[in-house]
Amino acid sequence: MASINRRDLISALLGAAALRVTGCSTGDPATQRLKIEGELFSPDFETGHRFRASTAFRKSSVAGQASRAAEPIGAIDEWKEIPVVIVGGGIAGLSAAWHLKRSGFEQFQLLELEDHLGGTSRSGENHGFQFPWGAHYITTPMPENTHLIALLQEMGVVEGLTSDGKPVVAEEYLCREPEERVFADDHWQEGLFPVAGSTQEDLDQLAGFHQRMLEYSLMRDEQGKRFFALPIALSSEDTQSRKLDQISMLQWMEQQGWTSSKLRWYVDYACRDDYGLTIDRTSAWAGILYYASRLQNGVQASQDVITWPSGNGHIVKHLQASLKEKLQPGMMVARISPTEQSERPASCELVVYDKVQKRFLGYRCNRVIFAAPQFVAKHVIEGFRPERSTAAQDLPFQYGWWLVANVHLSSRPSDPGFPMSWDNIIFESKSLGYVVATHQLGIDHGPTVLTWYYPFADANPSFTREQLLSVPWSDWVEMVLSDLEIAHRDIRSLVTRVDVMRWGHAMVQPYTNFLWSETKRLAAMPDRNIHFANTDLSGIALLEEAVHHGVRAANEVLDSFHDHKTAG
């Protein structure tokens, strides 16, 4: 396996423009010259592969995988009995736990492989700053998204409801102005679209695009459902609009005659930002959803953004605090063995590896809420849906890689034009720019942390997974700084620390034809006494979807107990 040279890494992932600015990226890495500290993080790839790759029920594993052959599962130290086990402590699993508890059901345990809860909504803390490691905002939910509104009310984020059911968000949690800016032609300007320097044609097409989104946001079916709603389960089942899933966002824009390269960049940015996919691979339905689901009552402005210094980690912390001992991180579920559904009460055995105590535990339960991603399911669940493999091969669940860097600065960088905002993006960069961790706190001077995002969105990746995993921390830092340097010439002299997170398989991708595919529909159905609840079941990785699936799966489990009682 050839390792990647730093120049190739930067030019392939950011484009030649970033190299031109850097100029010095062939010499010593900036980390050495400037004494920048930092660490390279990733989810626990290792434990995941250690016991799961081949277990007793995967006898058919090809011999060629021997290099990744898993260790055999050891003797079970202790058996525990509990009615419900939730596997996975991302927002979906936490929401399932939250919904069970608030429904008065407390006999459950949540197990999470990582040492931290929250999945891609995790946050970090260092040198007195809090910052996101992934998802960092939600938009104010529409009145119909009742579960999320209830959660936000419990958190004190939503202070009440208007007479027509709209949530009223506390001022301190709404994104503080200035909210967003874009760097183009050597200066920053307000907003995400670089209006200055655009032609009248660009602006006309932009206006046409927004007008179209407004029309889509106003469309309702006979039952009064929106055509594009979050969570998408609340969307209309209208087949005509769902046909948009069969073409890419780019094809759809071509059909509309929108050829402006600026408008394409703007929409491409949105697709990469929310889905980690470029405009030519994103389903047009998903692309339109990004805009149309966030417009209400014919108002041109999108629903207000809600954000916290720690991003969506704030929601994780709230759930963590209210669920406390029900949550157990550092627990790797190695095997789930359900019994046949005919048995009542259904029962299920789990083999779990405790990473801290380095021992195996067994759990016997009636129901499992599987809130880990689909790609883990086949390695863990004994006899997992053999009948569905054909459909899944045609349109598999696909997940994107992301790189997130938290860049600590000793003071604010030079900044031509519109002042530093919450979201700061660089026109035509392949990165997504950065959000500022101190913005929402109102700290406008002195040290801060920038959280920089990069989705590996290319259809034909330049590097393999193994190559990317071998890239050293200092080269990732060089890439981050090369991008930031386009807008902040003095950034290198201000950086004190850069922590880098490599998210593998982080976000499910709504590529064309996937959202209404059979694969996706079946994946959400229970398998024997296992109920599924992960964001990927929606095909888009948004917090609204995670909460929806968590609550839905919890309700399925609650119903099963209820049915059992009434039957008995």
């Binding site: 001022e171 709404l174 503080r176 909210e179 700290i443």
Partner: protein
């Protein structure tokens, strides 16, 4: 050899040299008076240094024995470069260096030495070729004529139309052109191998100065030469803001980021109107909070009340509060308010400080800068005002400076309406401050305030602007100031910053 050159060209050379030399001297003197004040001292020092340096130069000229023409051109170029960049260099470095005076006089001295070297060398070069007595009389005559031209045009044309920075650069370029021209004029006296080098150097000097000329606007802006419109007597750049103090018309003025904060001539009107309505509404104000107001002038007014036991000043910038404790004219103006034992100072962004739990205050005086940026606009939001309520008791009074209701009515009423939306009962009021125009304030409280009952408890001799009648009149608005109902200023819309930008931008 040189006989073939028309004589008037040589004398023209002398004339230009003479003009340039005097211009550099005048520039240094003017610049020193601008930034340091006290023009008599500055001009005296500059002229003295310059003349003595010319003497040193003339004396040094005897040590140059060979290649006189080449030495003359080299000196010409050095002088062109140093003189040309002198004004921009001194202007730009002034706010950042503590050794400005040595740098200024060092520059003047070096320029003087070069000028002093010029004429003796030129006369020695020419004496081989011309009649000596004729030469001396003509060279000196042209030299003095040049000085006359320079001294007349400098104040009448160059400074008003070009400004210090451009004048400096243009005369540097002219001077370097003389150097270049001399390589042709004195060609027969130069050795073949030196000519290309000299010409290249001339072109490089001319190039650098022309480049400077293109950036002159930027240099001027940095130096704030044109923006403040007074003589800058003190400037500094803190991590938060640029602070400048200027002097004109019998008073001094404080600027933050180029915006006037007060003029010592009429600040008493502004500060009496800011502080006393909030103080007189209470029988015995004891604990007072001041936010912003690092100049100590609001605190000065507060300390006029003998009942006051504690004043807490929250101001972002330690550089500002330090200046108010140590810069003599300011300490005199604020009557050493910030050195008073009753006063404690917290240097923190009030937006962050407001989250700390403290005992309630009887009176709060808010003197933030105008909401010209988002980082200041957040201090006028409904969020901030709601947090402020936790610092008050039922009878506390709050006064807030709220920009001009005449020039920026939407901004002014936006502050009033935002206070109301946060649950305050608000009385808008105003005062006339000549340096600012009609200025607006808000008196806010948690319960209704009866301003008609206001009586000043302190001796009238202690106040210059307010008496009982004029205090009540502050609350009466004339016809041309009508109530408006603009948007509420919230963190997530920063409506005020947008109004302010719209209204004051048009005004400026």
């Amino acid at each position: 050899m040189l006989n073939r050159v028309p004589l008037f060209l040589l004398y023209l050379n002398v004339l230009v040299i003479a003009i340039c030399g005097l211009i550099y001297e005048l520039l240094a003197g003017t610049l020193a008076s601008y930034v340091l004040g006290d023009s008599v001292t500055q001009f005296s020092l500059v002229i003295g240094t310059y003349l003595s340096a010319m003497g040193v130069g003339a004396w040094l000229s005897r040590y140059i024995e060979q290649q006189l023409a080449r030495a003359f051109i080299e000196i010409e170029l050095a002088l062109a470069f140093l003189g040309g960049i002198s004004a921009p260099l001194l202007f730009v470095v002034f706010p950042w260096v503590d050794w400005f005076r040595p740098l200024l006089l060092g520059t003047v001295f070096s320029v003087g030495v070069f000028v002093g070297l010029e004429l003796p060398l030129l006369m020695r070069i020419l004496k081989e070729h011309l009649d000596f007595s004729d030469l001396v009389s003509r060279v000196l005559a042209f030299d003095y004529v040049g000085a006359l031209i320079a001294s007349i045009l400098f104040p009448l044309v160059f400074i008003p139309y070009l400004g210090l920075v451009r004048t400096s650069l243009i005369f540097g370029i002219l001077n370097a052109c003389v150097g270049l021209w001399s390589t042709f004029l004195l060609r027969p006296l130069l050795s073949q191998k030196h000519v290309p080098g000299l010409r290249w150097r001339s072109l490089i000097v001319i190039g650098i100065l022309i480049l400077g000329l293109f950036r002159a606007d930027q240099l001027t802006l940095i130096a704030e030469e044109s923006t403040l419109g007074g003589k800058v007597i003190h400037t500094m750049r803190s991590p938060y803001q640029r602070i400048a103090i200027t002097r004109k018309k019998g008073g001094f003025q404080l600027f933050i980021n180029g915006n006037l904060q007060f003029n010592s001539v009429d600040e008493y009107r502004y500060h009496e109107a800011l502080v006393h309505p909030a103080m007189v509404g209470l029988r015995v104000p004891k604990r007072v909070l001041v936010m912003g107001g690092g100049d100590g002038l609001a605190v000065r007014e507060i300390l006029k009340y003998p009942s006051v036991q504690e004043v807490l000043l929250v101001d972002l910038d330690p550089a500002m509060t330090e200046l108010s404790k140590s810069f003599p004219p300011l300490v005199e103006l604020n009557r050493s308010a910030l050195l008073d034992p009753r006063v404690s100072i917290v240097n923190q962004d009030a937006f962050l400080w407001i989250n700390h739990a403290v005992e309630p205050f009887d009176c709060v005086v808010i003197d933030f800068p105008d909401p010209s940026s988002f980082s200041i606009g957040k201090l006028y939001t409904s969020h901030f005002f709601r947090k402020l309520k936790a610092k008050l008791h039922e009878d506390s009074l709050v006064s807030i400076q709220s920009t001009s209701p005449l020039v920026a009515p939407k901004s002014y009423w936006c502050v009033i309406r935002t206070l109301e939306s946060a649950g305050f009962s608000v009385r808008p009021y105003h005062a006339t401050v000549p340096s600012f125009g009609i200025w607006g304030y808000a008196l806010a409280s948690l319960s209704k305030t009866d301003v008609d009952r206001f009586i000043l408890p302190i001796a009238a001799s202690d106040l210059r602007f307010l008496n009982d009648e004029s205090l009540r009149d502050l609350f009466v608005f004339p016809q041309d100031i009508q109530e408006l109902t603009p948007e509420i200023n919230r963190l997530d819309n920063q409506a005020l910053v947008r109004y302010y930008d719209e209204e004051w931008h048009g005004f400026d």
